[in-house]
């Protein structure tokens, strides 16, 4: 494959020259490909900011949706998103962490454990809209929870549980075995080891994974359309059985209208949604850094 041998210091052969140029071209192409993703993100953000910033003010945050675009706001949607986020976390977090602890600290190496593990990986790959259908059939219809915040939160909890479980497993796995052995050596039971040693050390990692999964839930639209969240709500929810809307759904309902004024509303809504997600991610990053400093 390689060119004819040539004495050191002699002129570059045509063959080697070609190899060198191909190499340079390829390096630039790869760098360019990386830039495409970065540039796309920049263009997207700028596009949204240009459209939405002029429409964004305090009144936008404190007004309900309206047929008149100049009066419309995201109050109900923002409140709905926060309700959904809190309730989803409340449902998904304990179950996911318990599942992760079982799989890492208790589970025997059996076909059953393997099945559960494979199943969790597969669950993470199911499209979110299929979870929406499950929520519609199970929570809205079969359990009679109707189009409530509870139905939405249960559906989203199912959606993000596999993600939290896998993140929590990784965090638990990262706790050094010597810590466990030391605790066992002092006569601790398995649960005492888990509660006293493993969980506290894994907690920042688990929380980071949970927040990232929750920020996915906050951005979800399709499953909530399925469980019957609606675009127009003129009140803030007072309890878990209330009807609700969320930011992405409000944005979608504005995008679906042809008038330009509603497009601006959608862009302003997107800015609010992205700000919410940015806050959550910032918290996750702070937690991650703290965890890294301690380990």
């Amino acid at each position: 494959m390689s060119g004819p041998p040539r004495p050191i210091g002699s002129a570059e052969s045509a063959f080697d020259r070609r190899r060198r140029i191909y190499g340079l071209v390829f390096a630039w192409l790869c760098g360019f490909a990386t830039l495409v993703g970065v540039a796309a993100l920049a263009v997207l953000l700028v596009d949204v900011l240009i459209d939405g910033l002029p429409r964004l003010d305090v009144a936008f945050l404190t007004s309900f949706a309206s047929r008149l675009p100049e009066r419309a706001g995201v109050k109900a949607a923002l409140a709905g998103s926060i309700w959904i986020m809190a309730l989803t976390a409340l449902i998904a977090f304990p179950v996911s962490v318990a599942a992760a602890i079982y799989l890492e600290e208790y589970a025997p190496r059996s076909w059953l454990t393997k099945t559960i593990q494979t199943n969790i990986a597969n669950l993470a790959g199911i499209p979110s809209i299929v979870y929406g259908i499950l929520g519609l059939a199970l929570f809205v219809r079969a359990l009679g929870l109707d189009r409530s915040i509870l139905s939405g939160a249960l559906t989203l909890a199912l959606l993000i549980m596999p993600v939290i479980i896998m993140a929590a497993q990784e965090a638990v796995r990262a706790v050094p075995p010597t810590i466990r052995e030391a605790a066992y050596g002092l006569g601790a039971t398995r649960w005492q080891v888990v509660r006293g040693q493993v969980l506290p050390m894994a907690l920042p990692g688990i929380l980071t994974g949970t927040i990232l999964a929750l920020s996915r839930a906050v951005g979800e639209t399709a499953p909530l359309i399925m469980v019957g969240a609606v675009g127009f709500i003129a009140f803030t929810p007072q309890g878990v059985m209330d009807q609700f809307t969320v930011l992405p759904l409000q944005i979608y309902s504005w995008i679906s209208r042809p008038q330009d004024e509603f497009r601006e509303l959608a862009a302003a809504g997107i800015i609010v949604l992205l700000a919410l997600l940015l806050t959550m991610n910032a918290i996750a990053i702070v937690l991650r850094n703290r965890a890294q400093r301690h380990s």
Binding site: Y22, A33, G37, I129, W191, A222
Partner: protein, 310 residues
Amino acid sequence: MASHEGAPSVQAVLSGKRGRRIREAAIRGALFACAAASTLVTVGVVLVLLGETVAFFREVSIGEFLTSTRWEPMFQEQHFGVLPLLVGSVLVAGGAGVIALPLGLMTAIFLSEYSGPRLRKVLKPVLEVLAGIPTVVYGYFALTFVTPLLRTVFPQTDVFNAASASIVVGIMIIPTVSSLSEDALRAVPNALREGAYGLGATKLEVATRVVVPGALSGIIASFILAISRAVGETMAVTIAAGNLPNLTLNPLESIQTMTAFIVQASLGDTPQGTLAFRTLFAVAMTLFLITLAMNILSQWILARFREEYQ
């Protein structure tokens, strides 16, 4: 630890040796229940989809569902051919793949082989942000930026079109390809690279003939996973590609994907027990089976063809 009375108190029992064992077993049982509950979710999905899908196929033959070229479930004269929706999904996912697979792989090669650690530390989180942006935002971007751009280049483009959806879904799945592929590339040991350099290979030759082949199972798995995500993508596609079941391979036309149909059908009022309600489940079942098959394939490739490096 025993109490002063003859009969030990509950607390004493629980803190005693036997009580300790009981408590440990109870905790173990509760934790197991939480892990096992995840399998119930899968069972739930399958049962829910299966129940209504079977009811659907009592009224509509599987032959019509799979071979008819018209999807008109809401019309007076109903047609239930899933092909237009299926082709719509394939068109969007295929277009997204054309964009995301080469860009994602080259991004992965750049991050793993070319960029220094400092540049990498900046680029990786930026790409992660790309994956974290809600899909409804991509829909907005497609409709207000990509589509107008397409229409200036190709004036015959419909307002809602598959190409615009393909482009944004492609951008959306670049991080799936790049981060999983990068993990695979970085798992190839440096000794292999150094061996190739020692034989006089250039950086390009090392990257494309040693590292990429060494990481091929991981790269292919990331490709399949990304395409499966594109097939299941809902909001960006619903917003940008339209709601017209249209058996076409022209990306500039308005189409409808399986996911967009599910959204459209559930936005309208579809009472339970009607055929219209059941079409929703039949389409969802098709979607579920396709994405499940792709996910299993990707895991199988990872497990079967993984190069074991020490």
